[in-house]
Point group: C2
Chain length 207, copies 2
Amino acid sequence: MIKLYYSPGSCALASHIALEEAGADYEAVRIDFGSDEQKKPDFLAINPKGRVPALVSDKGILTETPAILVFISQTYSASSLAPVNDPWALAQAQAFNSYLCATVHVAHAHGGRGHRWANQETSFEDMRQKVPQTVGDCFTLIENDYVKGPWVLGDTYSICDMYLYTVSRWLERDRVDISRFPKVKAQFEAIEKRPTVARVLENHFAD
Amino acid sequence: MIKLYYSPGSCALASHIALEEAGADYEAVRIDFGSDEQKKPDFLAINPKGRVPALVSDKGILTETPAILVFISQTYSASSLAPVNDPWALAQAQAFNSYLCATVHVAHAHGGRGHRWANQETSFEDMRQKVPQTVGDCFTLIENDYVKGPWVLGDTYSICDMYLYTVSRWLERDRVDISRFPKVKAQFEAIEKRPTVARVLENHFAD
């Protein structure tokens, strides 16, 4: 059985939704960031990066959201979570996921994790101040150039929607009003209406 | 014919090598970052992010290195640039590429592009100071947990090697001594001995 290591509300939520949508036999294992469990030897043995998500299968350990999402899509291909049989369409989905991972998530992370890239409290504050602008710029691009509507890739719900929803959940903390982005907002509301997603959220955020 | 838009020495080098290794019919189009060509309307029409690489085919435009590398591998599958027929093995390759894209490239970028995430010159300097540590930590993890040797994935040369080589080329600028990482250093020297790579470098850096 697959195990997914996650922290509530982290980017691991996207993989959590994907496993549920795939109908996979999996267990979600919560890692307590409050007590720095991700930096302790037991978890570092699973993921030496000390981050979530980490997916453990009988084949080994897999990290990084874009990799996990495509792996789930290919493994449970009957669930049609991504256009896995069309290299160009898959590449477009991957480009979107890569943008979320390397640009949008990184912009967001400067709000609370400036210590990753600098040492001074004044720098952290400077970074925090800029987050509404950088994340807002990212979502302007997502709204104008990526989301075809109603879903990211158009008529077909996909891993891109699971990942975008996960990142859009951070907008309020990032002091960016989702109403500025009508297609993103409609996508956010539509995905929350899915029973599968509601089921994941209940489990994901359970005490 | 495929067009690859690139800037010399940028992460677009990985895609440039992949196209050459694939035996693709392509043209490499140089974008002059010195004159901010990437921010001008002609290029923004191709990639609204104002970044390279951007790959243009008869199907449209594709951005983001991890997406481009897998697309090339799937399209020219006879060249065996990635384990495209084994979802788990492909996922491991993707996890590595995703780490390079979202963590290593980002750590490096704080050396010269701090303005992306902050506003004050003091913050930029603070970020610059930390680059040897953050990039050094990334490469320690790459050396210990990723590179199987002689290539990233073991005996088989792949897109992961093209991407790692591209990022390893930045180590000197990042004030990190590649000699600290024997497997990375051996991989770096091995890839430069490939005639295909030598051919790309000559074209990529030509005046």
